[in-house]
């Protein structure tokens, strides 16, 4: 086995194990939001995109409507559309394969495929990474959901405290130095939090989350003169 091939396999399998921890956190968050173990598992099987899953149960947990919950999941899911476009030249999926490939188009598999040194290894990274993440994510979702549903009292308070911390941990890397446009990311994050809190007393639960995103998007709309070209965006 070539060094590049074993490095690709190691990265793909390692990422699957790491993601498993988030799966347990998702299972616990889903139960805290009022879903049962079956509903949590169905989400990990069928939705299979972590940030959207967290957002959906986060909005439901805050007492939000189904529409607000699905809306925030879809907003985060738009990332995967762009990933798909980048993966087409690497994976060239056709016919039925396109339907199955689509299910595994997420942050991690895209990062693995793009980082691979050639097209053949990109496919391998996508398949092995997607497979190991899918298995771990679904197994640990069940563990987290079952674990959380056995809790009571102080443990429930612990779980309530874990959910915002999990969202903060998902957000944190975007705010760090080194992330593209980290200063803008910080302003966007602060804006989102402030708008959401300011609206909380006045709008139905969950709506403030979507409203915060829309408000920040409108405030940050690029002016015609400073709008960067697609080529600069991709750089």
């Amino acid at each position: 086995m070539s060094a590049a091939r074993s490095a690709t396999l190691r990265d793909a399998l390692g990422l699957g194990l790491a993601v498993g921890l988030y799966g347990a956190a998702f299972g616990a968050a889903a139960v805290a939001a009022g879903l049962d173990v079956w509903q949590a598992s169905t989400m990990s099987l069928l939705m299979f995109t972590g940030a959207s899953q967290f957002a959906l149960v986060g909005v439901l947990g805050a007492g939000g409507s189904a529409l607000a919950a699905v809306g925030s999941a879809l907003l985060l899911g738009t990332r995967n559309t762009v990933y798909g476009v980048r993966l087409v030249p690497l994976l060239r999926p056709h016919g039925f394969r396109r339907l199955t490939t689509a299910h595994w188009v997420i942050d991690e598999t895209t990062a693995l495929a793009i980082a691979a040194p050639d097209r053949k290894l990109a496919r391998l990274a996508f398949l092995v990474g997607g497979g190991s993440i899918f298995l771990m994510w679904n197994a640990t979702t069940v563990v987290g959901a079952l674990g959380a549903s056995l809790l009571g009292g102080a443990a429930q308070a612990a779980l309530d405290a874990v959910v915002p911390a999990a969202f903060l941990a998902l957000l944190w890397p975007r705010l760090r130095k080194g992330f593209p446009e980290a200063a803008v990311q910080r302003r966007v994050a602060l804006g989102g939090a402030v708008v959401a809190l300011a609206l909380t007393p006045f709008v139905p639960a969950g709506v403030q989350v979507i409203a915060a995103v829309v408000a920040v998007a409108l405030a940050g709309r690029p002016r015609a003169a400073e709008r960067p070209t697609a080529r600069e965006e991709m750089a």
């Binding site: 069928l46 986060g58 805050a62 339907l99 689509a102 309530d160 939090a193 915060a212 965006e233």
Partner: protein, 105 residues
């Protein structure tokens, strides 16, 4: 929310997210690689996640309440600043939340 409504939410959200993935593999690249799409993809997660952090930490329905969740969030932020691994961040946040709950009864 009833069990049926939850199921509808779960399945509708899942189907929508799958179609977004499939769209990326199916539509011409030029449709997706628009500057405004790139801006949404780059910045919506930060706004949405931060809004969720805030709402989950201090809201209870339409009320804003300060309890163990906010203390736990502060501890989690310190842990993240010290580059603690994800699982440790969750454990210290959970422990803090439970401790505040026990102390404040």
């Amino acid at each position: 929310m009833s069990g049926t409504a939850l199921w509808v939410t779960v399945v509708a959200g899942s189907l929508g997210c799958y179609l977004l993935k499939l769209a990326g593999l199916s539509v011409p690249a030029a449709w997706v690689e628009q500057p405004w799409v790139a801006r949404i993809v780059d910045f919506v997660p930060a706004a949405l996640l931060a809004a969720l952090v805030a709402v989950q930490a201090v809201s209870s329905g339409q009320d804003l309440v300060v309890d163990g969740r906010l203390v736990a969030l502060a501890v989690a932020a310190i842990a993240l600043a010290l580059r603690a691994p994800f699982i440790l961040v969750l454990v210290v946040a959970g422990a803090t939340g439970a401790l505040v709950h026990v102390l404040t009864g």
